[in-house]
């Protein structure tokens, strides 16, 4: 097998694709024709299948860009495998109407990166109606781009937000930020304290798309009458002594978290730098001048749903601390808490 970047990247990417998704991804890639795909036996062992596919790619003279495109498609299908950061851009006041031209954006973005760093591979793939996925393989002044640790950026036109897969190469972040800002005609870029594997949840949080239930006259179930999920009257032999308290907790939880599915986050992290506070007068720690530093991290397969279920399950008091409930509203899951 030739150790050419295009062939190698292509081969490694195809190897990563699970057999169940192989046909779908290849069809989405649209680089191998229907006829070519029909000549391949998809029931054989993966290694041999990959060899056949790589041969076909070589027949079609797959370029590095074609291989990069396949890599983007794979990442789009497996976006949860990456951890995504969110950047927020801002314009100056009184800017003209944004006439965003995707082709101009792409060429400007690429030009800025190439001007600063000769050894860089930039590939684009349009997604949905108004988004673009960018794959960047970073090199250095003297080394060719590393095709096996690329960074990905997802940008929705005419919005201030960009999503980037956390890159190993943190030194390239300022350059990436600059390219994004200038190409999208913004002035500043700032990294938000928001991070998750679930790109779609991050999108829902910053675009404020997570609470989409609205009261209209056309809705059939009045919101107030909907069951609160607590079947209190299941068995008449069971008497709930704290029924009013349970109903209060349900009501408060519903007010704070709403009826909609929560966006998915895996953790919330709080860095505390506060002085010790105690009701008791005296004691060693109360006299301590320096603040105490500690890190509190909440982890969960679905953090916000877990928080929502805390009070109804009786594990926490309702209402929960606003530090926990403000997460989607503020678009943060990293907090630094200091004394005022």
């Amino acid at each position: 097998m030739r150790r050419e970047p295009a062939g190698d990247v292509g081969r490694r990417t195809i190897l990563k694709i699970p057999m169940t998704e192989m046909m779908t991804i290849l069809k989405t890639w649209n680089f191998l024709s229907e006829n070519q795909l029909q000549t391949v036996n998809f029931r054989q062992r993966k290694e041999s299948l990959v060899q056949d596919l790589v041969l076909l790619c070589e027949e079609n003279r797959a370029s590095l860009n074609d291989a990069a495109l396949l890599d983007i498609i794979y990442t789009q299908f497996h976006r949860h495998q990456k951890v995504w950061d969110v950047f927020q851009m801002s314009k100056g006041p009184g800017e003209d109407i944004d006439l965003f031209d995707m082709e101009q954006f792409k060429s400007s973005f690429k030009k800025i990166l190439k001007r600063a760093l000769k050894n860089v591979t930039v590939s684009f793939r349009d997604a949905e109606e108004n988004a673009v996925w960018i794959r960047i393989a970073w090199g250095t002044q003297y080394r060719k781009p590393n095709q096996y640790k690329p960074a990905y950026v997802v940008y929705y036109s005419q919005t201030p937000y960009a999503f980037t897969s956390s890159s190993q190469l943190k030194s390239n972040l300022p350059l990436l930020g600059q390219a994004l800002t200038i190409a999208s005609k913004h002035h500043q870029i700032v990294k938000m304290d928001l991070r998750s594997r679930y790109l779609d949840s991050l999108k829902a949080i910053v675009f404020k798309q997570y609470n989409q239930t609205f009261e209209t006259h056309n809705s059939t179930t009045p919101l107030q009458e909907r069951s609160l999920g607590l079947d209190i009257n299941m068995d008449s032999r069971i008497i709930h002594e704290n029924k009013t308290e349970k109903e209060r907790v349900q009501r408060v939880t519903q007010e704070i978290f709403g009826d909609y599915p929560q966006p998915r986050l895996e953790f919330a992290q709080y860095k505390l730098e506060t002085k010790f506070k105690s009701d008791l007068n005296g004691g060693i720690l109360t006299e301590r001048e320096e603040p105490l530093r500690c890190l509190v991290k909440f982890s969960s397969p679905h953090l916000l749903e877990a928080l929502k279920s805390l009070a109804p399950a009786g594990i926490a008091d309702a209402p929960l601390s606003p530090l926990l409930t403000c997460i989607p509203n503020k678009g943060m899951n990293y907090f630094k808490i200091r004394d005022k």
Partner: protein, 299 residues
Amino acid sequence: MELPNTLSQDGESRGGVLAHLERLETQVSRSRKKLEEPQSAQAVESALGTRIHELRRLRDKLRAEVKHQARVKASTTNVEPDQTLEITEQEILKRKRENVKAILQAYRFTGISGKLTSRGVCVCISTAFEGNLLDSYFVDLVMQKPLQIHHHSIPVFIPLEEISAKYLQTNIQHFLFTLCEYLNAYSGRKYQADRLQSDFAAFLARPLQRNSLCNLLSFTYKAEPEGQSFPFCARLLYKDLTTTLPTDVTVTYQGTDALSTTREEQRAAHENLLFTKPLHQVFTSFARKGDKLDMSLVS
């Protein structure tokens, strides 16, 4: 669109009013699929007006019938006449309530409607273009000083913060009308772009290039459905976000052969057309006229 503003005193046939309103709704969604030249807003309005008159006439007729029936029934049954009267009153109230509910639901067709909520009001902006009902957007307002938006479904690229900063606290009407303008224009531009992409893909060399606001459209196209090459490249800019027609149109000739006078005439005519007619209508005319451009369309 006129809506009946008098509530009936007596009972009426429940099937009549709601069924007619439902039919109105399906008619509206059906007319969305038509590719014909649009009726003017007034034509639609007058059609709806006659409809309402028809409905009122039917309602009055049914009302009279019901009254007559009730009288006949009351005179024949002498067992507990008071109870019969009570039931009829209950039914009357029930139907009155349903009628009001139906009217409130129909307000959606006016473009701006709302529903009171426990904390304020939820405003619904229903967008439309050329008589086609398009997406609805919501703004949930909290009645506080200062007025606040609790949550909304306005797309992030619509300048909601700007509009709120200018009008939300001082002139709520202006706030809603401005938002309505932006959303209707966006919906209209999006509709044109979607139509071009889905219905006239054969006329385009590549997928249409667009952005979130649909205020910059770029495409390479041909005007003859049978033609082999795509000689023209068009670039439409919509600098005014409250309009559905472009502010800047540039059509360039891409052909390899020299630019003949006919081609130049075509190019200029296309430019003019794209300025004055909605995008999908321009392509509808291309599809219909073949390679003979109807100069009468150029108004």
